[in-house]
Symmetry: C2
Subunit: 535 residues, 2 copies
Amino acid sequence: MTDRRSIWAWGMESTEPAAVQRRLAAQDASGRFGIQLEPDEPPRVQSLQLRKPRITPPAALAHICSTDPRARTVHSYGHSFKDRVRKFDGTFHNPPDVVALPATEDDVATVLDWCSTSGYAAVPFGGGSSVVGGVEPPQDRAGVVSVDLTALNRVLEVDDTSRTARIQAGALGPVLEAQLRPLGMTLRHFPQSFEFSTLGGWIATRSGGHYATNRTQIDDFVQSVRLLTPAGKWESRRLPRSGAGPSPDRLLMGSEGALGIITEAWVRVQPRPRFRAGASAAFQSFRSACDAARGIVQAGLWPANCRVLDPAEARNSAGMDGASALLIIGFESAEIPQDFNLEAAAAIARDAGGCVLVESSTPAPAGRPARGSPGRDPAVAWRNAFINMPYKWDELAGLGLILDTFETAITWERWPQFDQSVRAAVAEALREVCGDGEITCRFTHVYPDGPAPYYTFIAPGKRGSELSMWAEIKQAASNAVLDAGGTITHHHAVGRDHRPWYDRQRPRLFGEALRAVKKAVDPHGVMNPGVLIDP
Amino acid sequence: MTDRRSIWAWGMESTEPAAVQRRLAAQDASGRFGIQLEPDEPPRVQSLQLRKPRITPPAALAHICSTDPRARTVHSYGHSFKDRVRKFDGTFHNPPDVVALPATEDDVATVLDWCSTSGYAAVPFGGGSSVVGGVEPPQDRAGVVSVDLTALNRVLEVDDTSRTARIQAGALGPVLEAQLRPLGMTLRHFPQSFEFSTLGGWIATRSGGHYATNRTQIDDFVQSVRLLTPAGKWESRRLPRSGAGPSPDRLLMGSEGALGIITEAWVRVQPRPRFRAGASAAFQSFRSACDAARGIVQAGLWPANCRVLDPAEARNSAGMDGASALLIIGFESAEIPQDFNLEAAAAIARDAGGCVLVESSTPAPAGRPARGSPGRDPAVAWRNAFINMPYKWDELAGLGLILDTFETAITWERWPQFDQSVRAAVAEALREVCGDGEITCRFTHVYPDGPAPYYTFIAPGKRGSELSMWAEIKQAASNAVLDAGGTITHHHAVGRDHRPWYDRQRPRLFGEALRAVKKAVDPHGVMNPGVLIDP
């Protein structure tokens, strides 16, 4: 039997947590919060009562369309906290009526024609990893088609000389990397959602990836984009850079399916790294670890990795003592040994009060063995934890826990005050709503002018009341982020869930401009309605 | 007497070339083309017959408005070849009626209100260095106001911690650097127009600056932008990076005054470099010098300077023998010695067949004196030539020469064929139109996926027929650039002169989108009409 996407957990059915894992996780969480938690049973697709499809695809599209309950269930939600609760509870009140799986770009155009003519919503769906309600059907439409792009998943062309590749937008991270690997190339864009997110999804949501500094957002990797809108094709010229008017691509990056469907893109790839050099450094305070990261990025050293973990994160995900903050630095290159850069970064970390724990270099420089053992390397521990996080969270499903993350970006000079007020607001909300809870922070990306902080909170909620409890905390967090000058999202996107804050954050006239653009390319307002902008 | 902008030459009246300089330049050019050239006399403001102002500013604006013939003359054109010829000939058929010099942002708003209410065109004017007809009054309006921003020229705030500064958009390059210098900071954006271009102009035209690699365009230095449109203010949040929808700033970068007037911006500044390391390398062919540049930038070395000059450019502006191509590499940093990076880059250059001529390092590494003498350094010779180029060209005015540059960007794998067909097309046009002439090329910027080539052509034209001769060559060049896959401009902008090719280049639907945006923020179509887009 082939493996299938789970209807409630992060990955496939085969990676759903076993009952024993869930019991152990419940014991852990019970111990942590001093309460008694028992895991509920996960949903079974056979027991779900889905609303009947309200619409029927035209004959020309029948071969790529499905109204199968499983398909419609899997395309009902993304992976936000709200989604995870509703999925585990078997609450699928507003599934898409039809799931279309275009095999060609022409199929996509035909689906958009059908939706435009009939006034049905077209919701682009890549890997379905949205944590902001970006792939959820709108409530107010007579029909909704979820357009699953994952059959458009090929690397079409690779240009070795310019180090670029033309890739179809529906390729999931592992799918595109598997096609680039035999050519010695890699895109090196590894968001936490890597397994279940697509190139098109990354571009549509301005995804943040592997690199912690310099060129990091998918924006920086895109050379040209091809978009299908209800009004036709929008394709930019393939250029390393241009100064001819505002960038057409930059208007599509972050458009979240509201303007059309990205079908392919030319992206910048590179050879796989041969040289690596990394270090971890412990600091007595989060503040001094942050200062070290700032010093490194402002010196223009551009490490591939430059993560800062506050003491609680360092304890939770890198095995530290709970009192020390951790800085993880890593350099990589296909061409140039990176030890010189690592030494320069380590010197800055030491100057800021850091104790450098492990330094490793691959291949090791002549006459110097690689120091430290990967087995005890907090950087390796952290990376494993990072990749497995969504699976770990599955083990905690159905316990009534409130468990979510939010992320932002802020300038360095406002950062200490920002962190203080955001933590205070969330801690207060956790206390009021849940009576207990923890908020922790790490930096996912650092820029010369500021960090991208990533907060995680966990609290004992009440089974059945998770959504309203979560909403109160999320609102406190979002208000605090906006009030302290941050952005409502650095790389999680806007979707439906961040709309109220996004609408506050963006320049009013830019909102008008976006609406005008939408009207020009999507005159019937069928593209992902409610996400990002209202028509 | 205070110095004033020349009505015909690049700089101030005090730097207009003397008669003797112009005679010597005429002799040189005569020798070069084997003809006899005599310089005409430059125009005098007293002899100009300007059209009378067609409109009168309202009382509220009288104190910042001028109808003085000199002011209107200076605001009639930019510095394109067309402009230089028309200025030298004293041809000022369509001057702005009024030159407004706002002292505050409120003044700017009042000017835009006046123009919107009356249907007059508002043409933003920074340093007036446009080479694409970006500051020229439209022909079809009943009244035109040139809005000179240079009184809004202050650095308002500097944030040392985040290394950013809030600067008024009308600050000319030297003016803003002079205010940053006492704080130890610099923007390090040095386009060739540096002396006579402004921060707002750089942003509105997506200027390319000092750095040859990595973060180079002004786009990369902008943290947030404040724009006044006829429909109100558009100001983005000050953030190191955001993933909340498409970037509002990126829609303003390259908007060329067609959407509104940029009044200020937060930009990324940095400490002045203390460490420098540079080298020049000679190559037997342009092709191998290009390969070296590609190798360096693809290795992620990010030199501040990485210019490639073809043999003719290397002869004309760096004193080389005319057979060798030149690669100029320079690294700089405020924090980290750059010798390691230079060695790595020099090794790549040697591998590509380069002969490294001069290596210098400041401060020199311990125990190693700086090699080479700056007096004989082709890199220094080239930089001086670069800065003085617009002044040198003034010496050639009025000789009937056809002398212009054009620039583009192209991916590496198409570059050799691109260069061949562009040179062939321009050489043929020069032969047909002028019977003689030379085209040369250098790279101004290099990206991992392609270079930004910059072509210069010079040919003996005919006094009085320069404009039509130029138009024919320019058209051949632009067609060749577009047909071979390039962009009509990498950093010179679109203006009026590049419109036909820009309209071909941009995605049709993006053109619709831009028009929709313009209508939303400039409903009466008063902002720089004819530039970039038609209403």
